[in-house]
Symmetry: C2
Amino acid sequence: MPRLVMKFGGTSVADLDRIRNAAEKVKREVDNGYDVAVVVSAMSGKTNELVGWVRSASKPEGHDGPGLYDAREYDAVVSSGENVTAGLMALTLQEMGVPARSWQGWQVPVKTTDAHGAARIEEIDTTNLDAKFNEGMHAVIAGFQGIAPDGRITTLGRGGSDTTAVAFAAALKAERCDIYTDVDGVYTTDPRITKKARKLNKIAYEEMLELASLGAKVLQTRSVEMAMRNKVRLQVLSSFEDTPGTLVCDEEEIVESNVVSGVAYSRDEAKVTLISVADRPGIAAAIFGPLAEAGINVDMIVQNISEDGRTDMTFSCPSDDLTRAQTVMEEAKTKGGINYRDLVVDQDVSKVSVVGIGMRSHAGVAATMFKALSAEGVNIKVISTSEIKVSVLVDRKYMELAVNALHDAFELEKTA
Amino acid sequence: MPRLVMKFGGTSVADLDRIRNAAEKVKREVDNGYDVAVVVSAMSGKTNELVGWVRSASKPEGHDGPGLYDAREYDAVVSSGENVTAGLMALTLQEMGVPARSWQGWQVPVKTTDAHGAARIEEIDTTNLDAKFNEGMHAVIAGFQGIAPDGRITTLGRGGSDTTAVAFAAALKAERCDIYTDVDGVYTTDPRITKKARKLNKIAYEEMLELASLGAKVLQTRSVEMAMRNKVRLQVLSSFEDTPGTLVCDEEEIVESNVVSGVAYSRDEAKVTLISVADRPGIAAAIFGPLAEAGINVDMIVQNISEDGRTDMTFSCPSDDLTRAQTVMEEAKTKGGINYRDLVVDQDVSKVSVVGIGMRSHAGVAATMFKALSAEGVNIKVISTSEIKVSVLVDRKYMELAVNALHDAFELEKTA
């Protein structure tokens, strides 16, 4: 029988009514003739509660210690949320006449690395599941978790249930991996910013990756990468509305598409410029090495032309990382590693990007983008491009305006 | 190093403050030089919440079905409560400088039968724990759970964490098994009924068994049986007060004791009499067979002398079982199995018992008991005796009076 993976996120299994609603969708696919593997997250709010307890247990109130917790215990505690949902989903399916059983990560087993709290799936042994499918028994899998080589429980990091779902879809050779969530698909841009935003029927893996990492929080980036690598067809659709979703698939499956598929944004960015840095070999490494070591997520990097052996170096990072970035740069100057005259910070910038595989074969996307922004009087502060995207930093106050202007300029409200 | 098992029940780990309080007691014993295995229950209220979800998932509101749940999924869901506490306790101990790690039942492993929801422990393999003890790592064990031969999670039934603790004490050859709870020991009777109730320093296994099954809800009966069989010295003590508890031990460890150790009671009993039953061989089996099949917990049984080939048969059961017992008896009559004239029910009775290993060598305990009750005008409705106890049924309104009178008559306020 063909197989299907169906994944339900926290809001889709937030209470028993919603679990029942999700179970009805599973039953429909079972009735359609699929062997179904259901992957569930913890009921929404549960993971945060458990994480809060772990933090407090490690660092009691009024205690000044570092409060660093043992990630192995964090995993043992936090994974319990998914176990509860998996059992409840199996019971609900049984009650509806669908034979099903729950599987915890170690029972499958889902073998992972031992990087507790952020483990990677290494192998899913489907022998046990296959045997149960052959008995007509559908599977409910606790997402987000696995087992380390030493037999301890691991978790995959926040949002890891998407990755669990895609990994199972690959291992089980499923026809599709359906990700049920609280949005009904992937849009040309955020519908809260422009009402013209249109739901895409299909989007290529590469585009989805750019959109995911650029701030469209529909799917976890790692799960899209894994889907692309294993050619898992991924569908994003709503748990609450009965409408078709968006299929994330190989670009060969997409017959017609716009040159640009979507406009993404990231609201809270910061721009840092080091003025008059000595332009010598190794200077970039001297700047970005310490930033990376400090765990700062540097995004765009621009180096201006050099004059008299000195240059200006600009980079962007999430606003939350700005203070740490400044500290690291000041320390680097004090210790003599980097000699710059001034450090200029712009805290109020946003990133806006256009994404589309069509760019590979169509010239002039960047030009159209710059012209559209210019026509609205939006000043571009930094530009960065890749094969299938063009990103710009703009003043935050212009962000919505820029997104709207680009959506119009590339006529994204129209189907290809 | 000598080993100690310390078990904390739900109220003793109800929140992070209480977990910390419990962890401090563990630290004290670690500082005393013990290798400690801590056994924890779920935070109080958690198990009930999970059980409620399981029931609702199996039988949605407005649904008339039987709502029978798959006990394997029940176990998978409900066991998560102990896993959370175990992780939090390990973290709290670590934070206090005590090296510790959590163990879920399947990780140890705690091998059980496959009687999901009421499994029995078959074997605890301590190889992994032993290795960690040798590294100076103390153990925190999720109570109440194990793993069935097919690899699915089992639970031991309510109160099963006591059994987990005793089983580990036996397997680890621990010097003692300390059960921390919300009472500070075993009393001569319920202190809510008489202020003269005195905490016992020591009590024999056999006595504790009678007290446990007679309604003194300090320890789960099965855990006491297991302790007796394995000669595990069991201490009951308070999580909240720093006072000595009660040691449950072999009677040889008890040098001096009163003839009677305690007075137990069970408030809500019912008495059923079948009037004028044909007194033929097999009649008792014909009556009590169907009751047992219906899961009714028949306690005392009395048969009067026979007249003209007919007799009266009386039995007691918990009040909650009365309606079902009546139904079973009426069906038995209709189907012709048992021919009785009348069925007389007394719903308002309580059972009061005196218990003591000293009875074996002291005659006259029953006589003293009956005299004391008679002096207070308490009518005895049914009598039942065993080697170390005498139980009577009395009208419920006299229950407190009877307990007080017996506590006085046997001078239980005085130490032996």
